[in-house]
């Protein structure tokens, strides 16, 4: 049985990712327009996407810190989320055969931390100065990185299939990457179009 605290922690990480997804999805505008009086950044589509993206990437960074923490704890010999069921992040993160990046030998948690921190920098900086000349480059780079992340996710899922175990925290980080890819793609489609600077219409 999974510990209740682990499930609650997972839910706490899932919440910003779900909210980020809701902000990014194109058909959820009515949900947020009502709140735009108090929260002006919810008024335009562009700013909602940026808000969703920042939130999702922040959650991705926090989840990566958590997986790196589990990696360190497991290496100490401690247990965090070991389980006899298929959901056992200790077994996945603690598996010395798969828990580091090939060639570089860096733990996947640290790879996630660096990746999400950089993506958050791209997204946050762009959201603060959306009409700057470098925003297009940031969005393109973010799209490219999150798209490349799909390959990494595929590799890590293949490890999980081989181990017959699932790491819930890693899966949440993978979902955050996929949501972020959706956000970057939408920003990429909007950038340079009239909608990008359409401040008062959805």
């Amino acid at each position: 049985m999974l510990e209740v605290s682990t499930t609650l922690l997972l839910a706490a990480y899932a919440l910003p990712v779900v909210l980020g997804l809701a902000l990014i999805l194109p058909w959820t505008s009515p949900l947020f327009l009502g709140m735009s009086e108090k929260l002006p950044f919810l008024k335009t589509r562009r700013d909602r996407i940026f808000a969703g993206l920042n939130l999702t990437l922040l959650a991705g960074l926090a989840i990566s810190v958590q997986t790196q923490w589990i990696h360190a704890k497991v290496s100490e010999g401690a247990n965090f989320c070991a389980s006899n069921t298929i959901f056992s992040c200790d077994d996945v993160i603690g598996n010395a055969k798969y828990n580091t990046m090939p060639v570089l030998d860096v733990s996947w948690g640290m790879v996630g931390m660096c990746t999400f921190a950089f993506l958050l920098f791209l997204s946050y900086a762009s959201s603060k100065e959306p009409n700057a000349t470098w925003v297009k480059t940031c969005i393109d780079l973010g799209t490219l990185m999150t798209f490349g992340g799909l390959g990494v996710i595929g590799l890590l899922v293949s490890y999980e299939i081989e181990m017959e175990k699932i790491c819930q925290f890693c899966t949440m980080a993978h979902i955050a990457n996929i949501v972020a890819l959706g956000g970057f793609i939408q920003l990429r489609m909007m950038h340079g179009e009239k909608a990008w600077n359409d401040l008062y219409k959805d």
Partner: protein, 237 residues
């Protein structure tokens, strides 16, 4: 003089500082709340995985090295230690040392009433070095372990090696050298003594010199390491 200002530069710097701060807060949380142990092959590091089929006298079967360890080990004498030898059945020195390795596996076994320490489980990861005349196979590894006839070990019948059959030693097939590479083995034989929690306690190559504890004239060999380091019933090693 004409000054060029980049009005957007402060946004990038500001964002960079904020995100960097978040990143380092994450690093600090990990640093202050954990005491991670690196996986590696030096003393004090966590032993890497060992892959491949294993032979203990009843055919080759899949092997999970992690099952040998108890990560919550508290220093008690009831948990087993691990001695692993990286060897090649065609390496003349490995053949010559087979007698002592087999004898040690019996001396430091729980069934020996004269040994008052924790049981030491013996393993041998058998590879095939890239040297002419070092062609090996699972049959040869099994013949080496069982001391049975029909296979050639270092130019002679495996049955002619010194000592008795290695009934207490598990042999692991590393003919593809995967384990050897993972453990960064430079030559055979190389020995590792591993604590019950999976932490390497002693390495024959470049590790701590424990001296000639048993005064057999062979300084710092694996027997000296076991006598010095393995937990004993009357407390300490």
């Amino acid at each position: 003089m004409k000054q060029i200002y980049d009005d957007e530069a402060s946004t990038l710097t500001d964002a960079f500082l904020k995100i960097s701060s978040l990143f380092f807060v994450g690093i600090l949380i990990i640093a202050f709340t954990t005491n991670g142990i690196a996986t590696g092959t030096e003393e004090g590091e966590r032993a890497p995985a060992l892959d491949g089929a294993a032979y203990s006298g009843n055919g080759w079967a899949s092997f999970d090295f992690s099952q040998e360890f108890d990560t919550a080990w508290d220093g008690n004498v009831s948990s087993d230690w691990v001695m692993i030898e990286f060897m090649d059945t065609d390496c003349p020195y490995c053949v010559r040392s087979a007698d002592l390795f087999g004898e040690a596996s019996e001396i430091f076994h729980g069934s020996n009433p004269e040994w008052n320490g924790a049981q030491v489980n013996f393993f041998a990861s058998a590879t095939q070095l890239d040297i002419k005349g070092h062609d090996s196979s699972r049959e040869e590894i099994a013949a080496f372990r069982d001391k049975s006839t029909g296979q050639e070990c270092a130019g002679a019948d495996c049955a002619n090696r010194g000592g008795s059959a290695h009934n207490l030693i598990t042999y692991i097939d590393d003919l593809d050298q995967e384990n050897m590479d993972e453990w960064d083995i430079r030559g055979t034989p190389t020995y590792f003594l591993i604590q019950p929690d999976g932490i390497i306690a002693w390495v024959s190559n470049g590790g701590t010199n424990v001296g000639d504890v048993n005064q057999d004239g062979d300084e710092n060999n694996y027997i000296d390491a076991i006598i010095t380091l393995v937990t004993r019933e009357n407390g300490g090693a």
